[in-house]
């Protein structure tokens, strides 16, 4: 039984990865991260403003969390690879959540570009965690080229629709020899539990907590959902049956005689 989530040379006790975007303010973000019990927080790499003060959230986050940079918003192999290299330089980490998307409307992964980008980054000694489709074949290919984990989406980023294809996620989990982390599309705690019950190794989420009416409480719910789902998976669920099966035996039940 594995109590830790191992990715590359890192071990994490918490299986919940959290984004750092879209919180109402700094304080709520920090309190929500705390409540989520996460150990991994994602950040983006963006141009600094040459005009105004650039806030520096990283120094605060770095003290407590493992920082996972992403390549959010990249459309091409070149953009994604350079962003990852800049992230490595800025954060002194060779971990990267690789995103190569097709357009900014549905933010879905562009696997035709994702695969060569992943290949190049693996060659450059990165631990690549690719955001990908819930496609068992693509996930296997990403594993085969040396990705340290695969991160299939539950649903489009920020949609909050939960796992759209549980069967595919189950297939990915069954076939994968690297950690499977559900990334994107989580709406609420039950989505997280379902992911973990299916055997996923972790969940990465952001909007579901950051835009909840009470982000801190939702973060706590997500942490509990991770544990509940993980324990249920390890415990082994009963098979689904078409017909009922009584839980109380009929033996010894009173049986009233007919009077007439």
């Amino acid at each position: 039984m594995k109590n830790f989530l191992s990715i590359g040379n890192k071990k994490f006790k918490s299986r919940l990865f959290m984004g750092s975007s879209r919180y109402p303010n700094h304080q709520i973000m920090l309190e929500s991260l705390e409540a989520s019990k996460t150990q991994v927080v994602t950040v983006a790499i963006r141009r600094i403003s040459l005009k105004k003060y650039n806030e520096n959230i990283i120094d605060i986050l770095k003290k407590k969390y493992f920082i996972l940079p992403n390549t959010a918003g990249c459309y091409t192999v070149k953009e994604a690879v350079l962003t990852a290299e800049l992230a490595r330089e800025a954060l002194k980490t060779n971990f990267v959540k690789l995103e190569v998307i097709g357009n900014d409307e549905d933010l879905l992964p562009d696997v035709e570009n994702l695969i060569p980008a992943a290949k190049e980054l693996v060659k450059k000694k990165f631990h690549v965690l690719p955001y990908c489709n819930d496609d068992p074949i693509i996930c296997k290919k990403l594993e085969d080229i040396g990705c340290s984990a695969v991160m299939p989406l539950a649903a489009p980023i920020g949609s909050g629709m939960g796992i759209q294809n549980q069967h595919n996620i189950k297939l990915i989990v069954e076939k994968s020899n690297v950690p499977v982390i559900i990334d994107a599309g989580v709406g609420t705690a039950s989505d997280v539990s379902i992911a973990m019950e299916l055997g996923c190794d972790g969940v990465l989420l952001n909007t579901a907590v950051a835009e909840a009416q009470n982000p801190e409480l939702m973060a706590q719910a997500m942490a509990e959902a991770i544990d509940a789902g993980r324990n249920a998976f390890l415990a082994g669920r009963i098979p689904k049956r078409l017909f009922a099966k009584n839980s109380t035996t009929n033996k010894g039940k009173i049986n009233l005689m007919k009077r007439n």
Partner: protein, 68 residues
């Protein structure tokens, strides 16, 4: 003579010779989390001091920010 650079997508005129001095000239504080690419190649921080800038260089100066 001023050099014409493109810094973070904007035409910028600078007098400085090295990357390090350009940063100073355009008031970029050397936060330890800043990373720089010149002409699509990362320039490591230890090399900023000696990296010679020339007219036409395309410079990207980035830092980690909130993201999901």
């Amino acid at each position: 003579m001023k050099k014409k650079l493109i810094i973070n997508g904007k035409n910028t005129l600078v007098l400085s010779e090295t990357l390090s001095k350009v940063l100073h000239e355009i008031n970029v504080r050397k936060s330890q989390n800043v990373a720089i690419a010149v002409n699509e190649e990362v320039v490591q921080k230890i090399n900023w001091k000696n990296y010679k800038i020339k007219s036409g260089d395309i410079i990207e100066i980035v830092q980690p920010l909130k993201g999901g």
